[in-house]
């Protein structure tokens, strides 16, 4: 049962996400005054499907909300209600309600979510639209056709007539065996120039193998164009004009007898099977969905949903295989030393290389499966932007680029909260009210840019606003007042250093916490969370011009390439993504600047950290030669002094036990084979330690 429920949750979540995406598009369309019928249908379908599957999995409350929302959307679809901002608000709220309901067990007695309140809101929202005057009767459409039109089809027909769009009847003959593809093909061709209102099997024809269809179209294109695009063998096009008598007599009772046996009984809205989210190309209420079920089956066949833990397990197996491979490699080396076994060693080596290649492919394949586009997260953020902006009476335009950038699923999961917080901050503290903006000579609508791109083995996410910016002077004053820095230290802070103050625990410039950003989580939490993912965050800001936050994250956490370094006789792994270069360490070039050790590397000052001292071990450098590994994450750099470089290896990082959670400097450990375990150095953490201790010593050194 719980597995089924997981499956349901995954699917429901997907539907809700696509629903949210479509609502945003609809919101934009409504602002541009171009409400799209297709989008409304899309939203309707999503809610409809959700209702269907919610019922099957015992999510009664969710089903109820979906049902009520479906009714509202149906009114919208049929033109009984007008799409306006208040109604959109309620729809967006619906997404929230869905998500909160999905987060709680369906079995709880009393839901945390105010379902009743929301349902009430639903019924009261939205202005009704007066019925359009009936002009249909003037057309040469058989009343029996009109009688079988769904309410939706009728609405579309009326809308087109009211707009003065010409109506056509297209007669086509399709073979029963290929009707699915032919119909889809016809729909595809018609899409750009005409709207297919309905299609009915025609009474006039069809033998055992073929069926004639009457397709009712509305189109503004010329008959000649229509003929070109839709015409063909066995197709005749006829324009329906006002006042002409019915051209054909269509009796609906016979049609149904002619419809080829559908694979499933035609779905009724109230008991729809759990159709996959984006499958049907027609509203589910359409009664002649001959092909929808087959289509949907086809579209789901290509994708499977996989629990990420299963991928973790596979990755572990690959890790174990890599260990086996290096063991074989070592044996091969041993064989090489024996002249009589040389040939054997060479063969074994070759085979092992092949094994290695395939193993790499396997690893890449698994990594690839774990990757998801950031767009999923960005969509969720777009909704937050809209909501927060509305609550604050601010005008915000969100510009998203690089939504296709891919990152490890696990990282994405952990990323939404920090990003959400940053977005709220940008709108709450960054972007000004329209009036203030205008008086400052800026456009009233603020722009929030969300930009993502891949840079080597990292993904960079930028959040940039054109708001008020951060005044470093104010930050410094606040920090002094809070006792976070001394005046002496503050006096010597550079602009950039001052901006970093926002990441200190207990820092908040707002005296009054807004209900949005002031939820007890500060930038320090954001920073910690991002650090936990092996990432860093940087801030740049210009007073009056805006603020830009840059997050740099590794693409994946599952398996990484690492540089093995030796310190005091022990091996440590350092993620290669953080390593810029490794050079021989020359102790004579070390200088002391204000209590810290630095070297100058190509004109730049680099703070160094002696790991043997930090780890309180005895250096075991051979012949006194040590190495300096230059580590950089984001904008920060440092040099780690190590006793030796032991080569590069792909490693699977494993978490340390909870009991060691307070030990700093390590992000985990890894199995190197032969029961050897190496600690993985936490590059962002060590950088942070070096830089924060630098600031402290800076303050002490100055006197």
């Amino acid at each position: 049962m719980s597995e089924l429920r997981d499956e349901f949750l995954a699917e429901a979540q997907e539907i809700v996400e696509s629903l949210s995406r479509d609502l945003l598009l609809l919101d934009q369309a409504q602002k541009d005054n171009l409400p799209s019928q297709e989008l409304i249908n899309e939203v309707f379908r999503a809610v409809h499907t959700l209702k269907g599957i919610a019922g099957m999995f015992g999510y009664g409350r969710l089903g109820e909300v979906a049902h009520a929302l479906e009714d509202l959307l149906d009114d919208l679809r049929l033109g009984r209600k007008v799409l306006e901002t208040e109604l959109l608000d309620v729809l967006f709220e619906g997404v929230e309600v869905f998500q909160r309901l999905l987060a709680e067990s369906p079995d709880v007695e009393v839901s945390e979510v105010d379902v009743l309140g929301f349902l009430e809101e639903l019924t009261s929202v939205g202005a009704s639209r007066p019925p359009v005057e009936d002009e249909l009767s003037a057309y040469a459409i058989d009343t029996s056709v009109l009688a079988v039109l769904t309410e939706y089809e009728e609405h579309r027909l009326r809308t087109n007539v009211a707009k003065g769009v010409a109506l056509y009847r297209l007669k086509v003959r399709f073979s029963l065996t290929t009707i699915d593809t032919q119909l889809e093909d016809l729909k595809a061709r018609a899409k750009s120039i005409a709207e297919i209102i309905t299609y009915l099997p025609s009474s006039s024809g069809g033998d055992g193998d073929a069926i004639d269809l009457d397709v009712l179209l509305a189109s503004s294109a010329t008959p000649a164009t229509l003929e070109d695009v839709l015409g063909g063998e066995g197709a005749t096009l006829e324009r329906l004009s006002r006042g002409t008598s019915p051209a054909t007599s269509v009796r609906s009772t016979e049609h149904h007898a002619l419809v080829p046996p559908a694979p499933l009984p035609t779905p009724r809205p109230t008991s729809a099977p759990p159709a996959p989210p984006r499958a049907p190309s027609e509203p589910p209420v359409a009664r002649r969905e001959v092909t929808a079920d087959q289509l949907s089956l086809r579209s789901v066949a290509h994708t499977v949903r996989v629990d990420i833990r299963k991928l973790d397990h596979l990755m572990n197996v690959v890790g174990e295989l890599a260990i086996v491979r290096s063991a074989v490699m070592r044996l091969t080396e041993k064989l090489r030393g024996r002249p009589e076994l040389r040939q054997l060693a060479i063969d074994l080596h070759r085979i092992n290389r092949g094994f290695e290649r395939h193993l790499e492919e396997l690893q890449d394949g698994i990594l690839d499966v774990r990757m998801v586009p950031l767009g999923q997260t960005f969509d969720r953020l777009a909704r937050i932007v809209r909501q927060v902006a509305r609550e604050h009476d601010k005008e915000v335009q969100l510009v998203v680029t690089g939504a296709e950038t891919e990152i490890d699923k696990l990282i994405v999961e952990e990323l939404s909260d920090p990003l959400m917080h940053l977005i709220r901050n940008a709108i709450d503290h960054g972007i000004e009210l329209p009036k203030i903006r205008e008086s400052a000579g800026k456009p009233g609508t603020g722009t929030l840019v969300l930009n993502a791109y891949q840079k080597g083995n990292h993904v960079v996410i930028e959040i940039e606003d054109d708001g008020a910016g951060i005044n470093p002077q104010v930050l410094v004053e606040t920090a002094i007042r809070r006792g976070l820095v001394t005046e002496d230290v503050a006096a010597d802070m550079s602009r950039d250093e001052a901006l970093q103050l926002i990441f200190l625990p207990g820092f908040s410039t707002r005296t009054k916490a807004s209900d949005l950003s002031g939820r007890g989580v500060g930038m320090d939490v954001v920073k910690t969370n991002i650090g936990r993912l092996g990432g860093v965050i940087d801030v740049q800001s210009e007073v009056g011009a805006g603020t830009k936050l840059t997050i740099t994250l590794p693409v994946t956490l599952a398996i990484i390439s690492a540089l093995l370094v030796r310190v005091g006789g022990r091996e440590y792994a350092l993620p290669i993504t953080a390593v810029q270069e490794a050079i021989v360490f020359d102790p004579r070039r070390v200088r002391r600047v204000e209590g810290r050790e630095v070297v100058t590397l190509r004109g730049e000052t680099l703070t160094i950290l002696r790991l043997d001292e930090l780890f309180r071990t005895q250096s075991d450098a051979r012949g006194g030669r040590r190495y300096l590994v230059v580590v950089a994450v984001g904008q920060k750099r440092m040099g780690l002094v190590v006793d030796g470089l032991e080569g590069q290896q792909d490693i699977v990082i494993k978490a340390l036990g909870k009991s060691l959670s307070r030990v700093r400097g390590f992000s985990g450990a890894t199995d190197l084979g032969d029961q050897r375990v190496a600690l993985v150095l936490d590059a962002p953490g060590l950088l942070d330690e070096v830089h924060s201790s630098t600031e402290r010593t800076l303050g002490e050194g100055r006197r």
């Binding site: 949750l9 979540q13 174990e320 022990r570 036990g657 009991s659 060691l660 400097g665 029961q675 375990v677």
Partner: protein, 175 residues
């Protein structure tokens, strides 16, 4: 998303938690020696007994943490029980073993001098801490006195200090 899934499927499984305190009549205890004394962990909490694998030390960890080992791919913290119990230190010898103890949420390795045997203690063979009196540490459940013939030779071994893993190992995290 997967958060949701996780939330749904995570069945809180804490086998043996509080078993020792509510066990009706018999207490199963794994007895081991540390210096000259005998201690015991509730048997239900001991997952496995390991011979000494190579241990990777963890710099900057509390002193009683010996380091980490990989137990079938799971990184496990190993604690020197002598240091943790403030017993005089000594290098591990031939009979030294690591007991993998379930501390609720984490399995921790405890280095002991020697594993003795499993005792099934009846209720009247156990004196609970409050009955013993004095200020015993919170990680001592009580004292067991098995009526075993085999240990008659050494009077000092007749007493088993029964340990509660949770408060004992909580000290690692606190550092």
């Amino acid at each position: 998303m997967s958060d949701l899934v996780k939330r749904q499927t995570m069945v809180p499984a804490k086998p043996g938690a509080s078993e020792t305190k509510s066990a009706p009549s018999l207490r199963e205890v794994l007895a081991f020696s540390l210096a000259d004394d005998t201690y015991g962990f509730p048997l239900a909490r001991v997952r496995e007994i390991l011979k000494l694998p190579p241990i990777t030390p963890v710099p900057r960890a509390p002193r009683f943490v010996l380091g980490i080992v990989s137990v079938r791919g799971v990184i496990t913290t190993v604690v020197d029980l002598r240091r943790l119990m403030r017993v005089e230190e000594r290098l591990p010898e031939k009979h030294a073993r690591i007991l993998l103890v379930d501390v609720g949420g984490e399995v921790v390795g405890a280095l002991v001098d020697e594993v003795q045997q499993v005792h099934r203690l009846a209720e009247d063979e156990v004196e609970l801490a409050q009955a013993v009196g004095g200020d015993l540490s919170d990680h001592v459940i009580g004292v067991g006195r098995p009526r075993s013939k085999r240990e008659v030779e050494d009077a000092g071994r007749e007493l088993i200090v029964l340990l509660d893993p949770e408060p004992l190992f909580a000290r690692i995290e606190r550092g």
